[in-house]
């Protein structure tokens, strides 16, 4: 503080400085937009829960920032044959409870994942896991499965002994309860760098460094974390700029400049992997059955303008599902904004006078979602398409989405498996209620050949061949204009200058806080 210090400020700093001196050496005070809904990491498959998982547990393998695999609890892995993979586990690992980590814990964890409503779908390819010895496990899949390592990033071994038996109410400790309290939702024992020391849901959460952490090579030097949920973006930014917290995420696009210009703060942004797009519903609008009309729509939308002006550069304009680094990403798919061509295609299809459609978008789910929808509606007016736009809060939007209530609906999608096939399976595959395929396909686009190709790719263990297949899928979706791609939403974090967040951040948005280094004077 400078000499202009007022008496009041002096009093305050004196009263704040006292407890600060007693605090542990390196405390990270961080603010996210929400806190994890539960301590049971199998209760929900969501960003918040995965962030908690990476703080208090360790996965078998984890993603590096260039989307490669890095060994964690599994030190080595080998493909025994087409349907079997063996993993060697680290031997020097103990859980927070003091129990030793063994192969049995991995088997137990995968079996529990297969019971979890949220995880069981992505774990169906694994038919069984067996413990070969104390520190070797073998995964068996029904058919050859190329994404086993992707799945292994979701396996955070739980302390099977800690979660076995019954609690004081006589309920099984490993029960997964969505509505109501369970032992696992309020108790936690993992292998991770931090233990949970205090939790007041919606108010604050405290973590302490796990003193017996196995990863001695980790440079991380944070002893204590105080996490506060701050849902209001402006307040979150203010808390960082005023020095009340050291690390915040996400940073809203409107405040990016403000944070960047502040001397005491630093900003890290990354091109994200969540694609924002519009579906064109062929069941509701006959014109959308004509590929020329769909193409005309994609020619009419100027993704670059949305990314530059509306998103202030906080988005990467897209022409396909897969972001760079994904197997199915096709390098030379260009965004095709061309108004003349769009009008020409509309004329060829017999719609030079356009038609009327309805459109829906959420207004608090994605960054600037409602404004993006308005921009798209305005752009469509230029090919004489009259758009009746309705935007709704996310709580109401998804019900309407499930009912397919509008001709064009917005959705943002992040592939849980970090893999291109996932986009097609959920967003453009032929709809099938039994298998869950096309669950979010609000366009009713259906091309059985593509479904067959993706199914084939999911059995192809040769990753290069597989990538070619997935690229072919992207190319076809592009040629047939199956949907209107807009952009990949960028990610942004900000911290105080002495907190080195760059090395621990990644496009999945799971900061590896265990490895975080805070510079001390």
């Amino acid at each position: 503080m400078n000499s202009k210090k007022t008496l009041l400020a002096g009093l305050i700093s004196a009263s704040v400085a006292l407890p600060a001196a007693v605090m542990a050496e390196n405390t990270l005070r961080m603010a996210y937009d929400a806190d994890p809904v539960s301590l049971d990491i199998h209760e929900q498959l969501s960003g918040g829960i995965l962030q908690l998982s990476h703080m208090t547990f360790d996965p078998l393998v984890r993603w590096t920032d260039d989307l490669q695999f890095e060994p964690r609890l599994a030190s080595e892995w080998e493909q025994v044959d087409d349907t079997h993979m063996r993993m060697t586990l680290r031997e020097d690992v103990t859980f927070h409870s003091g129990n030793a980590f063994t192969a049995e814990d991995v088997v137990w964890t995968v079996e529990r994942l297969k019971q979890s409503p949220d995880f069981k779908a992505i774990f169906t390819p694994i038919t069984s896991v067996t413990a070969i010895d104390d520190h070797t496990v073998e995964f068996e899949t029904e058919k050859p499965y190329p994404l086993l390592l992707n799945l292994a990033t979701y396996i955070f071994p739980l302390d099977s002994e800690f979660y076995s038996g019954t609690d004081s109410d006589g309920d099984a400790k490993d029960e997964i309860v969505k509505n109501g309290n369970s032992f696992a939702s309020s108790n936690l024992s993992g292998t991770g760098p931090f233990t949970v020391t205090e939790r007041q849901q919606g108010v604050r959460m405290e973590f302490a460094r796990n003193t017996d952490y196995w990863d001695q090579d980790s440079p991380g030097n944070v002893d204590r974390i105080v996490m506060t949920p701050i849902s209001e973006s402006a307040t979150r930014v203010a808390a960082l700029l005023s020095g009340d917290v050291d690390f915040i995420a996400p940073v809203p696009p409107n405040d990016l400049e403000r944070v960047r210009e502040d001397e005491d703060a630093k900003l890290v942004t990354m091109s994200g992997t969540r694609i924002i797009l519009f579906h064109m519903n062929q069941d509701r609008v006959d014109a959308f059955k004509d590929p020329r009309v769909r193409q005309a729509f994609t020619y009419a939308i100027n993704q670059d303008a949305i990314a530059d002006r509306l998103m202030k550069g906080f988005a990467t304009p897209a022409a396909q599902f897969s972001p760079e680094g994904y197997a199915g990403h096709v390098e030379d798919l260009e965004r095709r904004y061309d108004l003349e061509k769009a009008n020409q295609l509309m004329a060829e299809a017999g719609f030079e006078d356009g038609f009327e459609i309805s459109m829906m978008a959420p207004n608090n789910r994605y960054v600037n979602d409602a404004r993006i929808a308005q921009a798209v509606a305005t752009m469509l007016a230029r090919i004489n398409v009259d758009v009746d736009l309705r935007t709704l809060p996310k709580a109401q939007y998804w019900g309407e989405f499930d009912d397919r209530s509008a001709d064009m609906m917005m959705i943002g999608w992040h592939a849980d498996t970090e893999d291109s096939a996932n986009f097609h399976e959920y967003l453009t595959a032929c709809q099938d209620a039994d298998s869950g395929a096309g669950q979010y396909n609000a366009g009713s686009y259906c091309n059985p050949e593509l479904d067959a190709l993706v199914a084939e790719a999911n059995l192809e263990v040769d990753l290069e061949k597989r990538a070619e297949m997935l690229q072919q899928v992207e190319q076809t979706l592009y040629d047939e204009a199956a949907f209107v791609p807009l952009h990949w939403q960028d990610l942004a974090w900000a911290s105080a200058q002495n907190v080195n967040i760059e090395p621990i951040l990644n496009v999945m948005n799971f900061p590896y806080l265990g490895d975080l280094v805070i510079d001390t004077e």
Binding site: K4, I12, A31, L45, A121, K178, T235, S242, G399, Q439
Partner: protein, 348 residues
Amino acid sequence: MIAFLVKRLFHALLVMFVISLIAFAIQENLGDPIQQMVGQSVPESEREALREELGLNDPFFVQYLRFAGNAAQLDFGYSYNFNQPTMEVIARHLPATLELVAAATFLIVFLSVPIGVYSAIKPRAWLSRFFMGVSIVGISIPVFLTAIVLIQLFAIGVSWTPFPADTGWGSWLNGVITTDGGMPAYGRGNPVPVFGTWTTNFATLEGLTYLVLPAISLASIMLPLFIRLIRAEMLEVLQSDYVKFARAKGIPLRRIYFLHALKNTMLPVITVGGVQIGTLVAYTILTETVFQWPGMGLMFLDAIERSDIPLIVAYLMIVGLIFVITNTLVDLIYGLVNPTVKLTGRPA
């Protein structure tokens, strides 16, 4: 008196019954709670199973009767998001809101009375004009803007240097318009536990610093209103015959203003004030959101975003109860201040 309270108790029950019925009737429009409980890739069959388990597929009246039956036994359901009984969740958030409202009420009472009285006694003084001007501005600025400006000035701090810093007067002027910041920008800090779920910010100096900015911005809505109300009432009272007679009798001005006139000025102020305190509880939604104050308002907004229907219903019922209670208290106090008013409505 007893009959009056019993009557009010029935009022409270009736209000809570009607609110719960309305809240239940609109829950269809509050969104799908299942969507908030599961990840995006969870298949429809799993969602349907969960919906069945929670009884969300039952017809409206079956759901409401089940709720009412449980409520009669003081069981108000489980919050979907917190996985705890809704009343426990509310009890945990209530102290924060009540403390914020108490702090704001304190500011309002201790600022509006002297300012209002002063500007009535000396309506032409430049200070009165200044207060009136500021109160017009205060009424017109929305509370979230006040809050954000307060945060910028006193939490983050601003540094303006429009004047030449190398001259004495310039650097002094720069210093006047520059603020240091340093006030807490969000939350309650480390409130001290009192008993049960009650934690307080009033116990320590550090705790009080967390209250300052939220309380000022919450008070900023009502303060101008009360200043103007007190001023208007006081001006009217000062014109009345008994004040003129008192003056003619030679009673000291101080005694006239602060004993005789002020008492009668306060009658309508108490009525309005009581109702406004209820409104203040509702206004905390905005203030608590900006300052991330972990009270009921923030909890309610979050519940709406997550379609946490049991918590929404319980919150609305509690707020209805608070309104009935504050109105009852106002009536009781009114009876004390003005003995000509009979609570039961029968002539004395």
